[in-house]
Subunit: 334 residues, 4 copies
């Protein structure tokens, strides 16, 4: 088993999580973390070197691969530099908001022959993997329609929202990826409607906080997506696929499995409300798979193109919302 | 308590059900059933007179009210005749497919001062009543979005389909009514997409068998509807309302409450698959309420207008499907 | 199909229920109700004759069968008289508290060749029927252990309790019947323990309000029973059978299938709390089966012996509670 | 925060788990593992020193505490030696099978003033902790009865069974601990019945594979326990407490939260079937708590006495099974 040496860019919440997950994978070495505002105490506590400039990674010949967890605005530039430095790349979603720039970066990646995996972690959620297996093995026959409920427990901070690209690029982008993953098909047309029902400040930055989106797929199937910035009962994460032989769905996960019965009713636990806890296993699994991709010299399960297409769909959704009509998704080939 | 004497027109499946339910209501008398092809054995068995012509009802001064369960094409004409004969009217849905004709009939009803109740039975489903109460009492705060899954267990016979007016007028019309009922708001705009995924013969008559519809409501809330002519696991009937303080939903009902655990998994009963069984209680309750409406001389819970508006929405949905764009719902005032 | 004419003795809550169920069975005629304190308004409303003396039934040659719903203390005497009058008999449980007297009455029934069915209605509960089918068809393999939770929502009135024979003869007797029904085996030994935890007045009449009972069966399997006079969340009715290939259980039934999700948790409906509502279907089914037993001239599904044996087990349970040791069940053959 | 240095005795399945959990606790140092047949590859992989003799721990002045995971037969001797060496002790259950010897060891522990925590890990299961909180906070009022279903997925190897002390000392001992934990009361009397229904070889070594046990508690409440060496659908772990204001229970945990609906029924995942996976969180939490006990110089949550009493109850259960009568539990004070 080949040893893999890694560097990580960005030590925010998600960067730290990836770093800690890598530390647990046998045969890997996390050599350095780069962040202009690195959390030194954290790095020292887990025995990790750190630097403030990405050159510390790109110019280090020992480093095989880089984990990019910087703010989205830096992703494309760092992907290009990493590829040119011959490093394999794991990059958090989204790749960016400009399809042309993304496509150019993907060409560099391809030319350099390095691996690129996008952080659509939900594909590695055990329940979603099981759904995919059921769909692919024919358990529910031909798939007709995919229905997704994807509601955040509470709106993110205003600063985050402002840079998020809006609900479709920030939130629904996960659902677009799930639809492509489960259906094995591309999205032809998207119709989105939305409203500001939860937080007027979201409206002020030109975004919506509640949205519903319908998709028509190339294979004839369809999808329905419900998004919201706030579900006070927790992080509502449900996916259901309806087919000719039945349906299969993932239900919400709860922290507790207790049942309280009183004269007022029967009470069970609400859904987990923190995405890092809810998708804990998927974050572990995606990084483990990235290490295997490098070792086995195979294509990533979530490719650069898998990172680009949902951005195209999200941009079409934004346009649909604005123009109040369904919009075709152009498969960018510029 | 005033005695109420009724006649019934149409003794198909639903007519028989209403007749049997009426027989159980104290202080009511079901005097006669009219049907050109009346099931005599059935009528005699329950001690019910019968005739082949509706005049037997309209010209009978003892009869206070008529239950119209004839094929939809006859509804408008029979409503008008009943109203002119001074009979209160319970009419099965749909009122018809032509808004102008419906509106004219409603004017006659109004002029004659008779009661008219439309057979949107699901409003009387105990679970839906409970949802309505929760929504109205503020349990879930302000409502954001209503999500409805309404899937038939299997397509109806070809003959039925051909006369059904299509999936939106036949099936989704119930959901349009539920959205109006739960939200207390009108629908402004509808977008529908659909496909023929289940039965090609449905496509040949110009209909779809799988549809998804999104609604924008006057009060700013939204709705998502999923319809299908076939869910092999049963009659899938779920309604969920999401609001600022939580969500409330109705889950499917099952015949059995047994749980089988084996090395293959944990198996519970599938949803009931027959609408007359699933909505048994609502059929009883709507007729009981109609009798009370007459006795208490108050407005029906489901008025003629409640019968007209969903037809307008369904027609807009049909147009949306055809023209592949969202369509405004015109509140017919012709 | 042969017409069956019936009389009913006792028009309390359960007598009225049986009467109304009989009225719905085609080909039956409920000729008369006998009760020293008959509810005349009720009888007249459903068009039923009534009398104060049982002779009105026993001496009426038109009457084929009698439904005995009088207080338990009268059961044996009325069974004997009915048998001697050549009437088929449906008798509510319990047959009585004295095995010798019961056995003598059963001998008269046998000599007269009339049918006798005992009102252990739960055997006709759709869920329990399904459990029985699963057990008999080998779905769960060899049965190891039956676990029953049978908790009343609230203690019955003091007057009822005083005449009830105690919790084992009044409540657990149903569970003893279920164990015999599901296992197809006899009970060899019973151990019961109990306490007065809910209502001190129950202790004052020498009874317990909370009890746990274990049974050893002839076929080597076992059973565990939990009884209580009070479960504030409803009528808790669960049966689970564990076997070599899995387990199968019946879960509680609820009136509503709604799910409320808020920041406080997820709330569903509590179990139904009224036995006549919870077991509505089983009461209908047992009387329908009794009519078929008469028509098809076959043995009742719940025989006189099925009425006697649970009394013997209950008496052994009482003795076990008192003597604080397991007690063998003597199959009375006196 | 004081650093804690530990040694571990026994590197079987459970020893390895504890070692790996300790490695993740900040401020702890696992210095050495002792096992006559230590898994060197495992130790080296996690950078752990190892030895074959416990003296390597007892004579090392740097070591504050020892984790004893050796076969049960060695527990008492190692506890005594550890205590005499001034080491704090975490010892896996059971302490042993002889109450006199256990009591003597506990006296040594007390004299030496070291901490002793027993490995009844289930007390640290998040669901059980929540049950305990609900019971203690009065959510369900006064507790009447505790019902426990504790079924292994499959019998352990014959070798393990032979040394296990029988089902009551091996399996039910956990349930006795849970009853004491949840009730805060002692067990006064135990009645056990059992049979060999699953594996005849279990009968040949004088044990049973299916057992039911009832307990009478000092506080007047009761408990019902169902144990089995085999539930083919998984590791069935349910606890329910019934009280004056309601009931609270823990349901089984599943690996997947998927729901498959087909014409055959609705299928969900079966319970997890491996105890190390099912109780993963409780194993982490108990060791973390042990470290806190040392740091905060407080009494362990599961004391030596908490290790002794369930053995006394289990021995009474064994005697009850043999003598077919309820047996009083003597609180050993010899």
């Amino acid at each position: 088993m080949r040893n893999v040496t890694l560097g990580i860019i960005g030590t925010g919440r998600i960067g730290k999580l990836h770093a800690e997950n890598i530390l647990r994978i046998p045969g890997t070495r996390l050599k350095i973390a780069v962040d202009p505002k690195v959390d030194k105490a954290w790095a020292e506590n887990i025995g990790l070197n750190y630097a403030h400039n990405t050159d510390a990674i790109f110019s280090d010949n020992e480093i095989d691969a880089v984990i990019i967890c910087s703010p989205s605005g830096f992703h494309i530039d760092q992907i290009v530099k990493a590829a040119e430095a011959g490093k394999h790349i794991f990059c958090e979603k989204p790749l960016g908001f400009d399809p042309r720039t993304i496509a150019e970066a993907l060409r560099v990646v391809e030319q350099q022959g390095v691996k690129l995996q996008i952080g659509f972690n939900r594909r590695f959620d055990p329940d979603l993997v099981r759904l995919k297996q059921a769909v692919d093995s024919g358990t529910i026959g031909r798939s007709y329609l995919i229905s997704i409920t994807n509601l955040d427990p509470a709106p993110p901070p205003a600063e985050y929202l402002a840079a998020s690209g809006g609900i479709f690029l920030d939130t629904t982008v996960h659902d677009f990826d799930i639809v492509r993953y489960l259906s094995g098909s591309e999205v032809e047309e998207v119709y989105s409607a939305g409203a500001v029902l939860i937080d007027p400040s979201i409206g002020k930055i030109g975004d919506v906080d509640t949205a519903m989106t319908t998709l028509k797929l190339e294979n004839g199937a369809m999808a329905l997506i419900h998004n919201s910035r706030q579900a006070v009962y927790g992080f509502d994460q449900r996916v259901e696929v309806f087919g000719s032989k039945g349906s299969i769905s993932t239900e919400n996960r709860t922290q507790f499995q207790t049942v309280l019965k009183t004269s007022q009713g029967v009470v069970t636990d609400k859904p987990m409300d923190f995405f890092l806890e809810r998708y804990k296993e998927s974050y572990k699994a995606e990084i483990e798979d990235f290490i295997r991709v490098i070792r086995e010299d195979r294509q990533a399960a979530v490719t650069g193109r898998d990172g680009l297409i949902p951005v195209l769909i999200a941009l079409a959704a934004k346009q649909s919302l604005k123009e109040e009509r369904p919009v075709r998704v152009e498969n960018y080939s510029g």
